[in-house]
Amino acid sequence: MFLNKMNYYFHQASLNLFVNSWSWWAAGLGIGLTALTLAWFMGKRLGVTGGFAEACSLVTGSASSSHWRIWFLVGLPLGGLVATIGQWNWTLTYGGLDALTYGVSWIKALWLFFSGIMIGFGARWAGGCTSGNSIMGVALGSKMSILATIAFMAAGVIVMNILFKVVL
C-alpha cells in the first residue's frame, strides 16, 4: 500500500520534471529566479541576443569583453533536452507553422531563416530581445525597454492575426 503510493508520487514527479509543461506561475517563477540569481551571484545581466553578438564577434575577430554569454547559450539546449527527455525525439514538425507553409520543407526553412534575420536585426536595433528588454529592462524600470516591449507585442499581435485570420 505504502509502496504503491510512493511509486505513484515518484511517477508523477518524474512526469512533471521530464515530460509535462508547467503552469504559468511556476515556470515564470523559475525564469525570474534564474535571472535574479544570475544578477546576485555572478553580477551579470541576462541577455540572450548579446550572446549571439558575442559569438558573431568571435568569428569576425572583433573585440569583446568576457564571453560569458556564449557559455550561457551552450547551456540552453541542455535545459531543453532534460525538460522533454521523457518523450524526446528528433522532429521535423513545427506546430502551427506546418499548415502555414503547406508542409513543404524548403518553404518552412526559408520562412524561418528570413524571420530569423528580422529577429536578430530587430533585437540588436531595439537594444535587446525578450530576455534583455522585456524581462531585465522592464524590471529595471527602463522607459526604452517598456516601450520596446509594447512594440514587440503590438507587432506580434498584428502579424499573428494577419497570418491566422487572413492568410490561413
Binding site: 509543461s21 541577455g47 540572450v48 550572446g51 553578438a53 536578430g120 536585426f121 534583455g132
Partner: protein, 172 residues
C-alpha cells in the same frame, strides 16, 4: 632620416597591437569554474523556458491571438520576481554575493529603436520563437530551429556592419 622615422612609427604601432592583444587575452579569460556555472545558468533558463511552453510555436500563436494567458503570465511573473529582487537589493543596499554593485545603466530612449522593436515583434510572430527559445528548441529535437538560428546570426551580423558603434552592449 624620413625612412628611419617611418620605421619607428611602424614598430611603435606593432608594439601597441601586441599590447592590445595581451590586454584582450586577460579580459577574455574565464576560469573553468565560472564557465561551468554559466552553462548551468543557461541550463536552468532553457529548462524553465521549455516548461513554460515558450518553445512551442502553438503557445506563441495562442499568446498573440489572445487565446491563452500562459505566456503573458510567464513573462509577467518573471518581471515581477526580478523587479522585486532587484528592488530589495537596492532598498537594503546589500552588496550582491559576487561583490559587485548592481548599478546597470538602462538604455537611453531613442525613437529609432522602436522600429527595431517592431521588426523583432514581427519576426517573433513569424518564426514563433525568440533568440533564447530557438536555441532551447534545438535541445528538444526541433531540427528546423537551425534555420532560425542561422537567420538570427545573419541579422546580428548585418546590424553590426550597419551600426558598428551602437551602444546597446549593456543590455543585450
Amino acid at each position: 632620416m624620413a625612412i628611419a622615422r617611418k620605421k619607428s612609427k611602424t614598430t611603435r604601432k606593432s608594439i601597441e597591437v601586441v599590447l592590445v592583444k595581451k590586454r584582450k587575452k586577460i579580459s577574455t579569460a574565464l576560469s573553468l569554474g565560472s564557465i561551468v556555472v554559466f552553462i548551468l545558468f543557461g541550463f536552468f533558463f532553457g529548462y524553465f523556458l521549455s516548461k513554460a511552453r515558450a518553445t512551442d510555436y502553438d503557445a506563441i500563436r495562442d499568446m498573440f491571438l489572445a487565446k491563452e494567458f500562459q505566456l503573458y503570465g510567464v513573462i509577467g511573473m518573471a518581471i515581477l520576481v526580478v523587479a522585486a529582487g532587484l528592488f530589495l537589493t537596492h532598498r537594503f543596499k546589500k552588496p550582491t554575493l559576487s561583490g559587485k554593485a548592481l548599478d546597470w545603466e538602462t538604455l537611453k530612449f531613442e525613437p529609432n529603436r522602436l522600429i527595431g522593436a517592431l521588426l523583432f515583434g514581427a519576426g517573433w510572430a513569424l518564426a514563433g520563437s525568440c533568440p533564447g527559445t530557438v536555441i532551447t528548441q534545438l535541445g528538444e529535437g526541433k531540427i528546423f530551429a537551425v534555420f532560425t538560428i542561422l537567420g538570427i546570426f545573419t541579422g546580428v551580423w548585418a546590424f553590426q556592419k550597419w551600426q558598428p558603434k551602437d551602444s546597446n552592449n549593456s543590455t543585450c
